[in-house]
């Protein structure tokens, strides 16, 4: 200690914070404070050691200020011996950098914890929050949302192939087919009692698929009609889609997506290459959530089919045939365990051989030609 205290004076440069003038000064280390004295012996400042703070400076230089001082007084010390002596008297100067490293480690730890908690929030809280908020979205807003999505869906799916219209059955000669489709929907809708009108259309797409939009618009793809052997197989998929409308899954997905975008677009992921991480995490979280949604829509569909007097297992038969692809982007291989599990769940819910056909034979025959020239 005695060695360290051998130095108690040295040279520095002082800026008084009032003008930019450079004052060469003597720095004197008193027991409780340091004193800054001009070359002509005037006392310029007295700083108690505990109030000194170390400020941003290059490694070779110690730049000091007084904590909480509104005037930006600065003392610049370039003499290493004086800097060391100062560091011993005012430990907060952290000359070894140990405190700074510990604080930074704490920041990094807290940052990782915050990241973890935001990810958990996205995983656990956002879906349930979206589900809680969905009932409060007015139906009028949901219809507007559906209309906006409808435009995008049409733009994305309509290929204008050889100038044919996107929607089937609009030609005057196709009226019976549209009526048959309407009757099939009516059988289900009258039982479902949704509180919002459903609209249905068969569209010219070769995939065996169907989609439901918020607000009650359902699109059945031509490929699905082609692959259905009985009206109930088509109706089973329709009932599943009505399940999505009844559960307001579209609106919930929009809210869910907005929540995830907020967490993974704004709070997190803002670094070079982060965009890919954001998309990957969002897709993962949304698809794991949509598996539950699909199961719920399956259960609803089976119940609806039974109440309407149809075959509850027809949906399962159809799923087996098309490999579970009732949603775009989820075209899973036929032997995928997910599809098998879905079929098994449907068979648990619906007794074998229940119900009759939901559509008369001539209506079904007409419906099957809805997209044929």
């Amino acid at each position: 200690m005695s060695e360290a205290y051998a130095i108690n004076t040295g040279a520095g440069v002082f800026f008084d914070g009032r003008t930019s003038a450079r004052h060469p000064v003597h720095v004197m280390l008193r027991p409780e404070q340091l004193e800054i004295e001009s070359e002509d012996g005037r006392l310029l400042a007295e700083w108690p050691y505990r109030e000194i703070e170390s400020l941003n400076a290059p490694e070779s230089v110690l730049r000091l200020g007084r904590r909480g001082n509104a005037v930006l007084e600065r003392l610049v010390v370039s003499d290493p011996a004086l800097a060391t002596a100062l560091g011993e008297r005012a430990v907060q100067l952290d000359r070894s950098g140990r405190v700074g490293r510990r604080q930074r480690a704490a920041v990094i730890g807290a940052g990782m914890l915050a990241t973890l908690s935001l990810v958990l929030l996205a995983w656990l809280a956002v879906p349930s929050l979206a589900a809680r908020l969905t009932p409060y979205v007015p139906l009028s807003l949901e219809r507007k949302l559906g209309a906006a999505i409808d435009m995008q869906v049409r733009a994305a799916l309509d290929t204008h192939h050889r100038g044919a219209q996107f929607e089937c059955g609009l030609e005057p000669g196709k009226r019976p087919t549209k009526l048959a489709l309407g009757r099939l929907l009516q059988r289900l809708e009258s039982v479902a009692a949704l509180g919002m009108p459903l609209r249905i259309a068969v569209v010219r797409r070769s995939e065996p698929n169907a989609i439901a939009l918020p607000g009650g618009q359902i699109y059945v793809f031509q490929g699905l009609v082609d692959q259905a052997d009985t009206p109930d197989q088509l109706a089973g998929v329709l009932a599943h889609e009505i399940g999505h409308v009844a559960h307001r899954d579209g609106t919930r997905a929009v809210l869910h997506g907005a929540g995830l975008s907020f967490l993974f677009g704004m709070m997190l992921g803002d670094f070079v290459g982060g965009g890919a991480v954001v998309i990957a995490v969002r897709t993962l979280l949304q698809s794991s959530y949509s598996r539950d949604t699909e199961a719920a829509a399956d259960a609803y569909g089976v119940q609806l089919m039974r109440k309407a007097g149809g075959d509850g297992r027809a949906l399962g038969v159809m799923l087996g045939k098309i490999g579970g692809a009732t949603e775009p982007g989820m075209r899973i291989l036929r032997d995928h365990p997910d599809t098998k599990a879905r079929i098994a769940a449907i068979e648990r819910l619906a007794p074998a051989g229940g119900g009759g056909m939901l559509l008369a034979a001539q209506d079904w025959a007409a419906l099957r030609t809805i997209c044929k020239d």
């Binding site: 440069v13 800026f15 008084d16 914070g17 009032r18 003008t19 930019s20 003038a21 450079r22 400020l55 941003n56 400076a57 290059p58 230089v61 730049r63 005037v71 930006l72 007084e73 600065r74 610049v76 930074r104 920041v107 990094i108 940052g111 990782m112 915050a114 990241t115 935001l118 990810v119 807003l141 507007k144 949302l145 209309a147 906006a148 290929t159 204008h160 192939h161 050889r162 100038g163 907005a258 907020f262 704004m266 709070m267 997190l268 992921g269 803002d270 670094f271 070079v272 290459g273 982060g274 890919a276 991480v277 990957a280 291989l333």
Partner: protein
């Protein structure tokens, strides 16, 4: 250094070591991934502290007094402003009719305007956290007015295919510097737009010329009446039918592609020249009272910085490719053992994602440590001051400003160091 012949008082130097900067950036890149980006406020503050404190003007270094927590707080406030705004744009987008259709444009313009606002306010924050010889820099003026001016200039620059850009830079820089001060010393920008215009004209012709040629070739080859009918009809085979209706179309497309490629190559080759010219012009235009800056930045030095980037990026690519080989091998083995399984799928997607993030962050870190660091160093070392005796007589003015808008700039991704 070109400035070493100048007397010490008028010299501006950068004392920073590239190695320190490399370590800071690479550690930061790792922590950015681990915190999914939350660390960016600390990294940005560290970078500024390093750059500021190693910039020596007339024997004294700059001091950066901002803190990462200020940035984080400003960011949180900015987010709370932006979320209702985004929600509003979403609701507008649902409106049927003209408003709904134009909502995308409206959001683009609104956020662009806000981005310019944030750029100005972030500059104010940075300046008020910059201390030199115990006095602060400060920026007044109105960020709204700046954003309006910037919006109008961007529109003009867009309409003139970039020809108005030098005048935009000069005008906006004049506004910024007119409202900038160091103590009681008012800032000024004396760079003239037409000087930059004359220097940049040839470059503009070299890049935009091929693009215009390509466009005119395409326009000439197309029979517009038939084209409108074809597009209206729509379908999968539009391109085939366009080509059928316009016999010269194929060669016109080939020519256009060639011209686009030429423009891209020109742009890549000329970008360092452009950057050097703008940087020298900008540094030479700055002044505070009778204190004048003059820059002698050389184009070949800026090229050197870019060559260094290309060289390191090449090395990094080779290392990345070598590291990817065993990973691909392991994935192949996994595929063989467990074909079509979820684990294999997860491993391949996860591997691709990790590779992408490492590559992107790597290139960005290399760019910042080579080009970013060198530009700062070259610009600083190239500056010569006149009127230095004034530096002893400046008086204090102005206090610290709010970090809020720096947060806004970050939330809108328009922030920079």
């Amino acid at each position: 250094m070109s400035s070493s012949a100048e007397p010490v008082e008028s010299r501006v130097r950068f004392l920073g070591q590239r190695g320190t900067y490399w370590r800071l950036l690479s550690r930061g890149a790792v922590l950015l991934v681990l915190t999914l980006g939350l660390y960016r406020f600390w990294l940005m503050t560290d970078v500024r502290r390093l750059l500021w404190s190693h910039s020596e003007i007339s024997g004294e270094t700059l001091e950066y007094s901002g803190s990462a927590l200020e940035l984080l707080l400003g960011f949180l406030v900015a987010v709370s402003v932006l979320v209702p705004l985004y929600a509003g744009f979403f609701l507008i987008a649902l409106q049927i009719g003209a408003i709904g259709e134009w909502s995308g444009v409206l959001a683009f313009l609104g956020l662009g305007f806000l981005g310019q606002f944030a750029i100005y306010r972030a500059r104010r924050y940075r300046l008020s956290r910059t201390i030199y010889r115990g006095l602060r820099f400060a920026q007044g003026g109105s960020a709204w007015i700046y954003a309006l001016r910037a919006g109008a200039w961007w529109a003009l620059t867009g309409l003139t295919l970039g020809l108005a850009y030098p005048f935009q830079l000069a005008s906006l820089e004049r506004y910024k510097m007119r409202h900038t001060s160091y103590g009681n010393l008012p800032g000024r920008f004396v760079g003239a737009g037409w000087r930059l215009f004359l220097r940049g004209m040839l470059m503009w012709i070299a890049v935009v010329g091929p693009l215009l040629l390509a466009l005119s070739a395409l326009t000439a080859a197309i029979d517009w009446g038939a084209m409108a009918g074809t597009v209206e009809q729509g379908g999968d085979d539009v391109m085939a039918r366009i080509e059928g209706g316009n016999p010269g179309f194929g060669s016109a497309i080939a020519f256009a592609l060639l011209m686009f490629a030429a423009a891209a190559v020109m742009a890549a080759l000329l970008y360092p020249v452009f950057q050097a010219i703008v940087l020298r012009w900008w540094c030479s235009g700055l002044s505070f009272g009778d204190l004048r800056l003059d820059s002698k930045l050389r184009i070949r030095d800026v090229y050197g910085a870019y060559m260094r980037f290309v060289w390191y990026a090449l090395l990094f690519s080779i290392v990345l490719a070598l590291a990817a080989l065993p990973a691909l091998l392991a994935l192949g083995l996994l595929e063989e053992k467990l074909p079509n399984s979820t684990a294999t799928e997860a491993a391949s997607v996860g591997g691709a994602l990790a590779g992408y993030v490492i590559a992107m962050l790597g290139y960005s870190t290399i760019y910042r440590a080579t080009v970013g660091f060198s530009l700062w160093q070259l610009a600083m070392d190239s500056i010569v001051l006149t009127g230095v005796p004034l530096l002893d007589r400046i008086e204090a003015r102005g206090g610290a400003s709010s970090p809020l808008s720096e947060g806004l700039a970050d939330a809108l991704s328009v922030g920079d160091y």
